[in-house]
Amino acid sequence: MFTFAMRRLAIAIPTLLFISLIVFLLLNLAPNDPMAQVPLTVPPEVKQKMREALGLGQPLHVQYFKWLVQFFWIEPQVLIDHLFNTQFSKDDLRVISWQTRSPVMDVVVQRLPQTLWVVGMAYLVGILIALPIGIYSAYRQYSVFDQVGTFVAMIGYSVPPFFSGVAVIVLFAVQLGWLPSTYNTLHEVVSWDSFIIQLKQMVLPVMVLALQTTAQLSRFMRASVLDNLNQDYVRTARAKGLNEWTVVMVHVLRNSMIPVVTVIALNVPSIFGGAIITEQVFKVNGIGQQLILAIYANDLPTVQTLVFIFTILIIFFNLLADLIYGVLDPRIRYD
């Protein structure tokens, strides 16, 4: 298992480098201009000077190499400095955003907590709702509950968050006035009351996101439980005289969880990736919103860094899912 993990990690390095190159080339070859947002009243020669000041005049391979050094050499040093109060990265040029002219990673660090709170919470809520629905739907296949569950899951699957987000805002914020329509990113939780406010402003984005997770996971759970309910070991368990609760919740559930755990693990990187549209709709200052704003502004260093962070996370969680497989199912061996 250890050698397997090591080998997978070693393969990951060239994969990551290759992906970083592809991302860099794609972004650079796409028609875009960081000065596109600058008003037309700024003369073209001034814009050209501004482009040069951003380092755009340099050849592609120089730009790529600079980014590699900044990302893999200087940024880790900054992290070490931050953790241990050392001075390695003093005066080194970090990955600088074209929009804010400040280090990209600083903004990432500033925004990650909101994303983890909102999207992570939605994921958790989604899982907690989806699993019981999936199990019960399978156990009572074709019952009214199953039909309603299928219908709701269908809606959750097919309604995009830019619609459901605005719909819940119009209903709960504008018409009923119960909940705020924008996420106050300055709010700090210091007391019970402020915690309630925080909870209130999280309800709508979490609800929109959880609807999607629930829809997806409950379908997986249902299918997986259905598969297992027809197996011989279930009949055996029932023949032994075990009650239905033990049969379903102990025997069937454990076996049904294997594929569902994979799905859950593989989707974890999306928590870090944030929810681009939902964050934008509710103005949650998360990573997803940072990515979309950077794309709008053609802020290549930010887009590239964020996309690459997501890549690392996806590769890491893929590996993790593979390893968890081995733990859950002893028949799968890597040595």
Binding site: T41, V46, E52, A53, T100
Partner: protein, 566 residues
């Protein structure tokens, strides 16, 4: 009865005069929402309106333009003119005097050193300064004494109000930015996020692309202002969400630039929590005629350059007929509502330079048809006019935007009625306006017959705007397709008149020349076909007082005078 009315009188007097009695910070918090979030607070490093306007709360220029476009002194004691001796008679220098006793928000004194430094900072060759054009022609900035600076120009400058006027060229503190010159400018994150200024507010927390927290500046020059103790400046989302949060839910006090359909705004206003306000600058939505041939059969060095005149748009009658067929009042009604007015001018404001033409207001399909008939364009079997085998078939491009696509559809219909075939095309705004010389889809390359967009000028003097249409300023392969003469217009008479404008200091005469130049491009040649004079619509809560929408400078130019209506 008498006592009653006296009480009412006293109450209303109190209510009306409450802002003048208000102490600094007495009105609590004011919250502002911009649907584009500010990324940086250094106006010299960004051209973005959102960044310029948010920084205008903190750093201030010597003078600003007010809501009528007139010049108002801010840090300066008065606006220098030839009349008061501030501008030299030969128009080559301008002398600014600072108000005495001004303090930075850190308590140190504002001196002429800071003013000179602001110019040096922007003029540094490695800087990539976004406001460089405002310092064009500056040969030196001399310190006369602690409070006086003289800006010298290398040639007579009839409009010397480029440097240190308006939100694009404010005064920054020398002590803070001294080590941030040139290539080091972007690395000074703290300075760029937390500038020390003279404005009514000081930044306490800056989160890029999200939210800014500010508090009242203890050292602001008027001890009774600002009325608000803190500002929350939220960014992000979209225009409809911003409008909703002010007009419908009341979560914010002020929303900027609501580019929304007129009925959407009216609908939001009916909730009764706030009102939409409109202001008009010189922004004009127009159709640009390509005077050169964009045919894809031509080679890259000839296509859309002055080497190849346009096969049918070179004919003024065709251009005139295309303009006559358009129903501008309907376009305004559909696309802009109270945020638009019909215009036939390239320069619709300020009043001094506005020609106020009305030749294009009424739609005249019959007249356009007659004009084309008379000039030999004959309708063929398919309903499309042609002459010498050349069909009137137009490729009409613009950026992707709901209103612009509505306009395209309507205009295509009207042009169909005069026998002109129209193919529509829309391009992503960041590509269309991106100016990438490698892309065939930029508005500068103009690989289409006509294109539609809006343009404007900053400040109140259109000289540099009119300079865009001189011969030789057109985008072309040799200039890497950079340049502002989008139509490839070239008229020696225009160039000569423009040259006179650059030497004229007398305002009335400048106005006359400006109007003549405007007419040469619009009324006389139909090179530019103006459609809509576009205003800006913002919204404020009913409880927010003192708002005066200004399109000539920062919208938040008078935030020091805002107050809470109680």
């Amino acid at each position: 009865m008498q006592t009653h009315s006296l009480v009412i009188l006293a109450l209303s007097a109190l209510g009306l005069s409450s802002p003048s009695f208000a102490d600094r910070g007495g009105d609590g918090n004011v919250s502002i929402i911009y649907w584009q979030a500010p990324s940086i607070l250094n106006p010299y490093l960004t051209g973005g309106t959102k960044d310029l306007e948010s920084s205008s709360l903190v750093v201030e220029p010597l003078g600003r333009y007010d809501n009528t476009g007139a010049l108002v002194a801010y840090l300066a004691e008065e606006i220098p003119t030839v009349g008061n001796g501030g501008v030299s008679a030969d128009l080559t220098s301008i002398t600014w005097k600072l108000k005495p006793g001004l303090l930075w928000s850190d308590g140190s004194a504002v001196t002429s050193e800071d003013v000179k430094f602001s110019a040096d900072y922007c003029l540094h060759p490695d800087m990539g300064c976004a406001s460089l054009s405002y310092f064009a022609g500056v040969s030196s900035v001399d310190i006369v004494d602690d409070l006086t600076v003289t800006v010298n120009f290398d040639a007579p400058k009839p409009n010397p109000y480029g440097p240190f006027m308006g939100y694009t060229a404010p005064i920054i503190q020398k002590a803070q930015f001294e080590n941030c010159m040139g290539a080091k400018a972007p690395e000074c994150t703290d300075q760029n996020f937390y500038p020390i200024g003279t404005g009514p507010f000081v930044v306490t927390d800056f989160r890029p692309n999200d939210v800014i927290q500010m508090k009242a500046n203890d050292h602001y020059r008027d001890p009774a202002k600002p009325a608000f103790a803190t500002v929350t400046f939220k960014g992000g989302g979209d225009a409809s969400a911003a409008g909703r949060s002010v007009l419908e839910t009341g979560e914010f006090d002020y929303a900027w630039n609501l580019q929304l359909a007129p009925e959407v705004i009216a609908n939001m206003e009916s909730a009764g929590k706030g009102k939409a306000i409109a202001g008009f600058g010189p922004l004009v939505e127009r159709i640009e005629m390509n005077l050169t041939d964009p045919s894809p059969e031509l080679d890259a060095d000839t296509r859309s350059t002055r080497k190849a005149p346009h096969p049918f748009l070179s004919d003024i009658n065709v251009r005139k007929a295309l303009s006559m067929a358009i129903d501008r009042p309907l376009l305004v009604e559909i696309g802009y509502g109270k945020a638009g007015k019909v215009t036939c001018d390239l320069v619709p404001a300020p009043d001094l330079y506005a020609a106020k033409n009305d030749y294009c207001v009424a739609q005249d399909i019959a007249g356009a048809n007659a004009l084309l008939d008379a000039s030999g364009w004959v309708t063929g079997g398919d309903g499309i006019r042609s002459k010498d085998g050349m069909r009137l078939s137009v490729l009409y491009q613009t950026s992707t935007n709901a209103v612009r696509q509505d306009f395209q559809a309507l205009i295509k219909e009207w042009w169909g009625q005069i026998g002109v075939e129209t193919e529509l095309r829309n391009l992503n705004a960041s590509v269309f306006f991106g100016g990438d010389p490698g892309s065939p889809d930029t508005f500068q390359k103009f690989y289409a017959d006509v294109e539609m967009y809006a343009n404007t000028f900053s400040g109140t003097d259109p000289q540099s705007y009119l300079a865009q249409y001189l011969c030789g300023t057109e985008p072309r392969p040799e200039s890497q397709w950079q340049g502002e003469n989008i139509n490839r217009f070239c008229d020696p008479a225009y160039d000569a008149l423009y040259a006179e404008l650059t030497k004229t200091g007398d305002l009335a005469r400048r106005g006359e020349i400006g109007i003549a130049l405007n007419n040469m491009l619009t009324k006389d040649s139909y090179t530019i076909v103006p459609l809509v004079h576009r205003g800006r619509v913002s919204a404020h809560a009913n409880s927010l007082g003192g708002v005066i929408l200004n399109t000539w400078d920062s919208e938040l130019w008078n935030i020091a005078d805002w107050y809470r209506i109680k």
